[in-house]
């Protein structure tokens, strides 16, 4: 298949308004450069908008110049590394589950799945312009953030299903594995800390 790569201007509305159809297209998942550009655009725009509008520490307490330096030197490289690690995990775990995805395809899917974060940019600005109280801003931000996070997971599952040619259930499981593992480790940690604390308190008797 030698289809023409899809440009970022075509990817953007596709991922925002008809993501399932877009992710189903093979040439979209092979448009790695466009997906990477879109990923960079999303993390830069979303990060900058949060930096400009956040009123809570640490962003609000940092001078603008320092904050921007930290953002570009730390947050952006960290986001890129996490993206790569995430894709590596989904590539390997997907293959262990019988998937047939390609590395660049998985990387593209992971990049495209963050697109809904762009919805938060105008929302942040609207909240600032509306001059609503801080608790309202925090509540709306939390709900919107959670909604976008869930939507990103849905898109990730859809994209990985198409790339790995997995069943929907398998793709959902693949996406949930890291989350379930994190929850399990957190619970394990809490239990271990609890046991140590209990043993320590018992020793005082």
């Amino acid at each position: 298949m030698t289809e023409k790569p899809v440009g970022i201007l075509e990817l953007l509305p596709g991922m925002l308004f008809s993501p399932f159809q877009t992710l189903r297209r093979w040439e979209v998942r092979r448009s790695f450069k466009s997906a990477f550009s879109l990923y960079l655009l999303v993390i830069l725009v979303n990060g900058l908008s949060e930096f400009f509008t956040l009123r809570t520490p640490p962003a609000a307490e940092l001078p603008a110049s320092t904050g921007l330096v930290v953002f570009f030197l730390v947050a952006v490289p960290v986001a890129l590394v996490l993206w790569f690690l995430q894709a590596a995990f989904f590539y390997l775990a997907g293959h262990l589950m019988g998937g047939r995805g390609e590395p660049l395809g998985v990387l593209s899917v992971c990049a495209l799945a963050v697109t809904p974060q762009l919805f938060l940019v105008p929302l942040n600005v609207l909240l600032v312009l509306a001059k609503v109280a801080e608790p309202v801003v925090a509540s709306v931000g939390l709900v919107a953030g959670l909604a976008v996070a869930v939507w990103m997971l849905v898109l990730l599952a859809a994209g990985l299903r198409e790339e790995h040619e997995l069943a929907t259930g398998q793709a959902v499981l693949l996406v949930l594995i890291p989350i379930l593992a994190t929850v399990f480790l957190a619970l394990l940690f809490a239990v271990v800390v609890g046991l140590i604390a209990a043993a320590g308190l018992g020793g005082l008797k």
């Binding site: 440009g7 970022i8 201007l9 075509e10 990817l11 953007l12 509305p13 596709g14 925002l16 725009v45 900058l48 908008s49 400009f52 509008t53 956040l54 009123r55 609000a60 001078p63 603008a64 110049s65 762009l118 940019v121 105008p122 942040n124 600005v125 600032v128 312009l129 001059k131």
Partner: protein, 296 residues
């Protein structure tokens, strides 16, 4: 084609949002927006000493380094449009006062207004710091003034004699132990120290005349070391306005062109260990030679 146009429109909308966020986001909190801005509040409390630090454990000297760091933060933070320096200090080291005063000047050079709010006392070295501010607000009963310089040394030779203590001093020059407590000052030493006191006094007078826009002669008339109440100081031109901290914040916001109620941010929050242990810990961590005993 239609999708590309839509993509372009979305991209333009996103960048427009980002620009709005940059202009209004931090602007609303006092960043680059018109009419916004924070007022930084910095406390200068206690005796001003070179390596001070207010501490519940080791007494109350002013946290000079903390105040200077806070002033630097105000200088660099674009959201801070004005600073209120709340002073409650009887003065202290001339050099340390001068150092804080220089930091105040840097804040002003950064285009920010500095208003001093005087508490119970803002005398001597504390007035040195205050004199450079754009406005001084004092309480009617504030003790201020005391423009002058003093150098003290005790002659304990009689006590040492009674105790049978004889101090042996080996020195590289005749004036190396100048001000030693084991003997009285010689006339030459007295002249040298008087010269130093006079020089610092002239610096103090010049600083007050320049900062308060007063004729030097008038400052000299007031600078005999006496203290004034806030109300007397206002009549003499040593302070601008009578009022409390609230008045000073309002004045700072007005000078900085901040519309509406300003957001006040306390800038002089030192790390917990410095707040608790104060200057002695700083001294232990950063040992240095202690010099001079000139106080203003």
């Amino acid at each position: 084609m239609y999708r590309r146009v839509l993509g372009g429109v979305i991209l333009a909308a996103i960048f427009l949002s980002l620009v709005l966020a940059a202009v209004w986001g931090r602007g609303r909190e006092g960043g680059v927006g018109l009419g916004g801005g924070k007022v930084g509040l910095i406390y200068l409390t206690g005796v001003i000493a070179g390596e001070g630090g207010a501490s519940p454990l080791f007494g109350s000297t002013a946290d000079v380094r903390g105040v200077i760091e806070a002033l630097s933060r105000a200088e660099e933070d674009p959201s801070i449009k004005a600073v209120v320096l709340r002073i409650d200090s009887p003065g202290g080291s001339a050099a340390a006062s001068q150092e804080i005063s220089d930091a105040v000047r840097r804040v002003q050079k950064a285009g920010k207004k500095v208003v001093v709010s005087m508490g119970d006392t803002a005398a001597s070295g504390a007035y040195w710091v205050a004199a450079g501010a754009d406005r001084i607000v004092a309480l009617p009963s504030t003790i201020t003034g005391s423009i002058g310089v003093i150098f003290e040394t005790a002659n304990l030779s009689g006590l040492y004699h009674k105790l049978g203590i004889q101090k042996e001093i080996i020195k590289s020059g005749p004036f190396k132990d100048m001000g030693s407590e084991s003997r009285p000052l010689t006339p030459e030493e007295r002249a040298i120290l008087q010269g130093m006191v006079d020089d610092i006094y002239q610096q103090f007078v010049d600083h007050v005349a320049q900062g308060r826009h007063l004729p030097r002669q008038k400052v000299l008339e007031l600078a005999d070391g006496r203290v004034f109440t806030g109300r007397q100081a206002k009549e003499l031109g040593l302070v601008d306005e009578l009022g409390d901290l609230h008045t000073a914040v309002r004045e700072a916001a007005h000078l900085a062109g901040i519309k509406g109620k300003p957001e006040v941010v306390e800038l002089s929050k030192a790390p917990w260990f410095r707040r608790f242990f104060g200057g002695p810990l700083n001294g232990l961590l950063l040992p240095r030679f202690q010099e001079g005993g000139l106080k203003s």
